[in-house]
Each structure stands twice: as structure tokens, then as C-alpha cells.
């Protein structure tokens, strides 16, 4: 999947485009790990162009959250669409991966 990266002073913003499923989850997880290894402990996932997420995609977010937290940072979600929000809510993962409305909201959160 296409994953644009936008490095800010205090965070990295990743923008995965397309469907985040068992086919692509590993790519996103690897990109989050690389980003954290590159010294960016706070990662914001801008999901505006992520059209669909399955449970494997959600697993990549859980793994990414752990990777950022181990490094003393955080993984935050922004701009999730209705399908992604549905998956987060039904699995109750929105309690630990709260979807922020905008990237700026996610960057400001702590």
C-alpha cells in the first residue's frame, strides 16, 4: 500500500492509502517500526485515505501502539472514516486507539 510520511518536529504523520487488511497490515506495521527506530516516538496515522480496515489491519495498529509506547511515545489515529470507526468501536479498541477528528487534534493530544 502507498504510505506517505510527513515528518514534523514532534511527531511523524503516516498516511496509508487504500485498504488496510491481511494483505497490507505487515507493510504498515513495518513502516511504523522503521519510523520509531528513526527516532520518532509519536506517530500519527492519518487514515483519511484508508478506505477499509479488517481485524488484521487493527492488529497492525495494536502492534504499532506497543512499539511506540515501548519507545516512550504514542500512536494516535486521525481522520478515520465510518468503516474504520465501526471496527474500532465494536472491538472496543477505540478506548486505547481513540480516533481524533483531525491530524492537528491528534498532534495536540497527550
Amino acid at each position: 500500500m502507498e504510505i506517505e510520511t510527513d515528518l514534523r518536529a514532534d511527531a511523524a504523520v503516516l498516511r496509508p492509502a487504500g485498504r488496510l487488511t491481511m494483505v497490507t497490515a505487515g507493510e504498515l506495521r513495518a513502516r511504523i517500526d522503521e519510523t520509531v527506530a528513526g527516532g520518532h516516538r509519536v506517530v500519527v496515522l492519518d487514515l483519511a485515505d484508508t478506505t477499509f480496515m479488517d481485524s488484521s489491519g487493527l492488529g497492525a495498529l495494536v502492534g504499532g501502539l506497543r512499539a511506540t509506547r515501548v519507545a516512550g511515545g504514542d500512536l494516535r489515529l486521525a481522520c478515520a472514516g465510518a468503516q474504520v470507526r465501526t471496527v474500532l468501536q465494536l472491538t472496543t479498541m477505540d478506548r486505547v486507539l481513540r480516533p481524533y477528528d483531525t491530524v492537528e487534534d491528534a498532534l495536540r493530544a497527550s
Partner: protein, 133 residues
């Protein structure tokens, strides 16, 4: 009651080919049953991708994998067929804790649709049904 939409596709090929075909089949269903609301579309699509993903990941390779989608005025039904007997899966498994990276697929599916798994003529048929809202 006549169906508003009916779509069938084979699910042969690798993970990516199969999931592409599942999404395409659902897009065709929504074009013919255009009044299905977004909540129901999201529910069926999410559930069918979970079950189809399980079938390609854990089921036998080769021919015989198939998806049939039907929408009528009252409900949405998907049937996913895979060759061989039902896999040893716990359909009633609880949702894993928030630190777990896997194991949510079937629990999520059961929150979206009525899920049954039956053996029919030497094959396994997963039936996913959801009353329309």
C-alpha cells in the same frame, strides 16, 4: 421475495486476489441494491472480508472457494463456501484483550451478522445474515 441484488464469484487465487474480488463483488451488490444503508453495507463488507480472509489463510488451497451475496428487501445474506470439512475454530470465542494483536476476526464478525458454519456435500458453508435496518 425477489432479490434486489445477487452476485456470485469464485474466490481462487492468493490473498490479495481474493480480497479484491470480495470488495468488487460487494460493490456490484450495492450498485444493484442501491437503497441499502451505509451501516448495513459496512457491516456486511467487514464481516465478509473477515470470513473470506479466514478461508484463504486457513482453508485448503485449490478450487471450490466461492462467495454468493444476496440482498432482498428484508435482509442481506452472504454464503462463503470452502472445500473440505469445517475448520476447528471456536465460533463463540470472546473478543481478545486490548493488548492482543490477533484473534478478533470471528468475534467482530458475530457483532455484525448472524454467523453459522455448516457442512454441505463435503464442503463448508459459512452463512452470514443481517436484517436490514
Amino acid at each position: 421475495m425477489p432479490p434486489e441484488g445477487h452476485v456470485e464469484v469464485d474466490l481462487d487465487g492468493d490473498d490479495e486476489a481474493v480480497l479484491d474480488r470480495v470488495h468488487d463483488a460487494l460493490a456490484r451488490l450495492w450498485r444493484s441494491a442501491s437503497d441499502v444503508d451505509e451501516t448495513d453495507r459496512i457491516a456486511l463488507e467487514t464481516a465478509v472480508v473477515e470470513v473470506a480472509g479466514n478461508v484463504v489463510r486457513h482453508g485448503a488451497a485449490g478450487p471450490g472457494r466461492h462467495l454468493a451475496l444476496t440482498a432482498d428487501a428484508r435482509r442481506l445474506v452472504a454464503e462463503v463456501t470452502q472445500p473440505g470439512p469445517p475448520p476447528p475454530l471456536d465460533l463463540a470465542a470472546a473478543m481478545p484483550g486490548s493488548d492482543q494483536e490477533s484473534g478478533r476476526g470471528l468475534a467482530l464478525t458475530r457483532l455484525l451478522v448472524d454467523l453459522t458454519c455448516a457442512e454441505r456435500a463435503g464442503a463448508t458453508v459459512w452463512t452470514l445474515a443481517r436484517p436490514r435496518s
